[in-house]
Amino acid sequence: MNDIAAKVLKGDERSIARLITLAENGAPQAASEMKKIHPKTGNAYVIGITGVMGSGKSTLIFELTREYRRKGLKVGIIAIDPTSPFSGGALLGDRIRMMELATDDGVFIRSMGTRGMLGGLASAVYDVVEILDASGKDIILVETVGVGQAEVDVIKIADTTLVVLVPGLGDSIQTIKAGIMEIADIYIVNKADRSGVEQAVAELQSLIDIACSGKDRKTPVLTTIAKENKGISELRKEIENHEKYLKKTEMFDIKRRKRYESELVEIIRKRLMNFIFDESTFKEKVERLIDQISKKEVDPYTAADEILGKILK
């Protein structure tokens, strides 16, 4: 257990999986192991993929992974599904479309529940990206929950964000509100053998023309038929173009910096919340304050002042 970080750096799968579990669970030894591996991170290129259910995200990831494998690159895949707010459990079914990759030892797939996080990511996803990075993966694909307009946190972690759409899924592009449409570095219209693909592409292009006027990069729109492996190598090339674009300007470093900022915020937030709500000595005081708020003896702001005051002292 003590040399788990060393084994992760060597690429040992069981250790990678174990450390991910420790990080996800917020186990005490996770932090010390993560400290050891952080210096070895930064090499992997992170690609985020989001899109509504039925858009073929998982199949696209499967084919894109095979494309990267053909180029000799190692790939980590993080597939995120929503955790039930009622039971705390989750059905993690994205692997179904990727099971052929299960026995390829250049691919590591991990399924995660959001565990209460809004925004489409899981709280520990930053850790998982670092772990996969440190273990030697060249590319990390993060498939996020993309059910609605609020699931845009993927941009906090990805170097390139792909938004996957499907023609004729009932929503015309216009009805998909801002938020999910603003985060794309590359748009993909998948299942492009369906009718309505030209219309979908045209609608996207006009939105992009408006949004990108005056900017030095126009968001590209690609069409793919993932299940037939069509358009996939073009996608890989377009991702490479974006990477080159980012690295040519300062954008790459700025993005990476934003990612570390988000990661730091998340670690602090979790620690604070654990301290306030889980640490037994403090927890009693907090519970008492909540009772007082319910009885209108105290208002929530005063209660917060008291709690924060105690922490910051």
Partner: protein, 341 residues
Amino acid sequence: MRLIVDTFEYGFKEVPRWNTISISGYHIREAGSTAIQELAFTLGDGVEYVKWAIKRGLKIDDFAPRLSFFFNAHNDFFEEIAKYRAARRIWAQEMKDLGAKKDRSLYMRFHTQTAGCSLTAQQPEINIARVTMQALSAVLGGTQSLHTNSMDEALALPSEKAARIALRTQQIIAEESGVTSTVDPLGGSYYIEWLTDKMVEETYKYFDRVEKLGGVIPAIEKGFYQREIAESAYKYQREIDDKERFMVGVNKYTMDEPIEIPILKMDEEGEKRQINRLKKLRKDRNNSKVNRNLDNLRKAANGNENLMPIILDCVHSYATLGETCDVLREVFGEYTEPAIY
């Protein structure tokens, strides 16, 4: 869809007495759907097949008479009878709407199998009573052919004795009960007629929902059918777990008694035997002919011609099922359904 329309086309031309397809709802019901869903999804599938065939240019009265259906016979006696009657009525109407003129195009001919999922591992002999009632509902509902399950359904593959009892069950209905002497004997019953009307109505509501989703195939790809089925399956299980629905021997009238019926033993040598047969076949056949036929199949699959004659060439030259389907898998890809619970 292409393969299915190929079958219709080939059947009409070359094998006119062959029922080209068994449009199934049995498996949908076994997966946990309700009776209405079984109706709506099966008939919806059937209509879709017909539409695609018409689109290719086939004449509906040419192929429709050889379409056949496959339904489940579940526990609710009267609901099942009404279901079969509703199916026939809906199918005749749909076929008329699609332009069928011949009487035989409107007939819904169906095979029924009693519900495997309703049989229990506990006190397996009582499954004979279940199967009898289910078989009777299918007969009173007008099924053309019937499969009765054996009492060891939930324990193993059927033993010879259990399969024989299942057969005798049908034979008793056929030879001794007299119910087969009257067509639609429950027609006119106030309850059955009301239930039939209601089931027709509910089915059309599902048809509308599927239309709104863009049609059968978009609905499948969006996971609509799978979700409906998974929901019904989960609800059914919860009802049993919560004792809102009873299964005799499982959550009511339970007993702790050992299984006393013969259970089939799997033949451990069977695998070896089959593998050896396959090896011998592959040695004895004309392999260059096989490969040529498979190549032709590949080329044809990439084109537009009817694949049936070429598949038959492969079969005649003793290409295996696996080899033939692998070629098709190569060309068409393999569908993986999304995870829907």
